[in-house]
């Protein structure tokens, strides 16, 4: 199978490294970062591209841009891993639309387009008889979408709740374990590279809310937008609050919750017994799904990281390869 990778940041490079190391039958015919690109119908030398990126900051030639690749390059599947813009979804949204209209499969880790335009993109993909997969948009390495759409196919999803943001979980773990203030724990998260310079997206619960919208729309068949989610972040939490929870053998975690029967779509800090399976440490993610036949299923794993997110993207690619792209 031939793929085009748009975006050569942490996730894009993680995918490239995995493809270079493993013999997965996947050939990269086009590649772009924000300032350069490369089109090689016979296949790109991945090791060389990684080395070039490392040395020069560019993965290819400056005259080739991501939109050109989406429109003109030869590929079976577009891998859209450019940075997320949660407001417009661009430029990823245009890249994805273009690929689908050309009858190409799409795999993305980009939350913007899936949160904003899933129904439209899915309709277009169905019309063009191509696959649109987005496992990497929620909970990094955890095969959550796959588990719910395939492993649990036929079940009615009654409720979903979990820890969807590793940065917040790290901060809360540190506040709880060490009695740190929110500010101290945030500083530590930044030093360790777990929090962005502007942590608003994470700590205000917006990132978790976007993931909740994706899950609500893709797995629960809703038509939710970000504004439908009731969002409370963790930035107002005090060490005292965690101590008060502690006195009852509990702690506080930022929980995203979808409960269609009660019309709940909410991200908020919640008191949760320390023995609960969702109380995971550090940057881990954990999600529980309540279903009618399978009962409760809890998945725990790494929610971010270059290799971890690449794992989810590659899982999607191989699923497409085995089902749709015969003889490749």
């Amino acid at each position: 199978m031939r793929i085009a990778i748009l975006g050569f940041g942490s996730v894009g490079r993680g995918i490239a490294r995995a493809l270079a190391e493993k013999d997965l039958g996947i050939v990269v015919t086009a590649l772009a970062d924000s300032r350069s690109g490369l089109i090689r119908p016979e296949g790109i030398d991945i090791e060389a591209a990684l080395a070039r990126k490392e040395e020069t900051g560019l993965c290819g030639e400056s005259g080739v841009a991501a939109p050109d690749i989406a429109i003109h390059a030869d590929y079976d599947c577009l891998v859209e891993v450019t940075p997320t813009d949660a407001v417009t979804g661009e430029p990823a949204l245009t890249h994805i639309r273009t690929a689908i209209e050309r009858g190409k499969h799409v795999v993305t880790s980009n939350k913007g387009p899936i949160a904003l335009a899933y129904a439209e993109l899915q309709d277009a993909a169905a019309r063009q008889q191509v696959a649109l997969r987005y496992e990497a948009t929620v909970c990094g390495a955890i095969p959550l979408v796959h588990a719910m759409q395939e492993g649990l196919a036929g079940n009615t999803m009654q409720r979903l709740y979990g820890v969807l943001n590793g940065t917040c979980n790290f901060i809360l773990t540190r506040m709880s374990e060490e009695g740190l203030t929110y500010e101290q724990a945030l500083l530590e998260a930044r030093e360790l590279g777990y929090a962005e310079a502007d942590p608003t997206y994470d700590v205000k619960g917006i990132d978790a809310a976007i993931k909740l919208v994706i899950l609500a729309n893709t797995v629960f068949g809703q038509k939710a937008v970000l504004d439908d989610v009731e969002v409370t972040g963790i930035d107002q939490l005090t060490p005292d609050a965690l101590r008060l929870a502690e006195e009852q053998e509990s702690t506080i975690r930022l929980i995203g919750e979808i409960a269609p029967s009660e019309k709940i779509l909410r991200v908020s800090p919640r008191i949760i017994p320390k023995t609960h399976p969702l109380v995971v440490e550090g940057t881990l993610n954990a999600v529980t799904v309540e279903t009618d036949m399978a009962g409760e299923i809890t998945l725990i794993g790494k929610g971010a990281g270059s290799t971890e997110t690449a794992s989810a993207v590659i899982g999607d690619l191989i699923a497409i390869q085995s089902r749709h792209v015969q003889g490749s």
């Binding site: 709740y161 409370t232 107002q236 939490l237 005090t238 005292d240 609050a241 101590r243 008060l244 929870a245 006195e247 009852q248 509990s250 506080i252 975690r253 929980i255 908020s268 800090p269 919640r270 008191i271 949760i272 017994p273 609960h276 969702l278």
Partner: protein, 162 residues
């Protein structure tokens, strides 16, 4: 419940001990000695709270102590939720916040643990709300949510009933 026990020293304590042993909470002990009575036994009424499902264990323990239970009164199953509030709790009139629940008649705030750090810093409190049935609990939490909204208090709810 109404208990009947031997009128000898130490018997009342013997009857009360098992209650705490099963995690119960004694609300009232009514113990009136009838001076005219010549009976060798003593009647004591106890009002208590027990965690769900512990009544059978308690009855067994009382029997071992030689105390017989004459009558078990109404069992009021209590629903309980602990919440954490963060904000300017005193300045926004904490007793009013509590009153809004107590006034309903179907739920009440039974416990508050308040931590106040430096002046002008937000304080944190854990409050326990109790109600007779679950629907009442949901109504009480709705009220509290709206009060917290008005007073700009962050209300942290449990993920599950705790």
């Amino acid at each position: 419940m109404k208990l009947e026990m031997k009128d000898t020293p130490g018997q009342l304590v013997a009857a009360l001990k098992p209650i705490s042993a099963v995690g119960g909470n004694i609300i009232a002990v009514i113990h009136q000695r009838d001076t005219l009575s010549t009976a060798e036994t003593l009647d004591v009424q106890i009002v208590l709270e027990l965690p769900e499902g512990r009544l059978e264990t308690l009855l067994g323990l009382l029997k071992e102590q030689g105390v017989s239970v004459v009558r078990i009164g109404e069992q009021r199953l209590l629903h309980q939720r602990s919440l954490i509030l963060i904000g300017h709790l005193m300045h926004t009139d904490l007793s009013d916040t509590v009153d809004r629940i107590d006034q309903t008649g179907f739920a009440e705030v039974t416990e508050i643990s308040l931590v106040m750090p430096a002046i002008n810093e937000p304080s944190s409190a854990r409050i326990t709300v109790r109600s007779v049935d679950l629907a009442d609990m949901h109504r009480a939490l709705d009220i509290l949510r709206s009060v917290a909204g008005q007073k700009q208090i962050l209300m942290i709810e449990p993920l599950e009933a705790v």
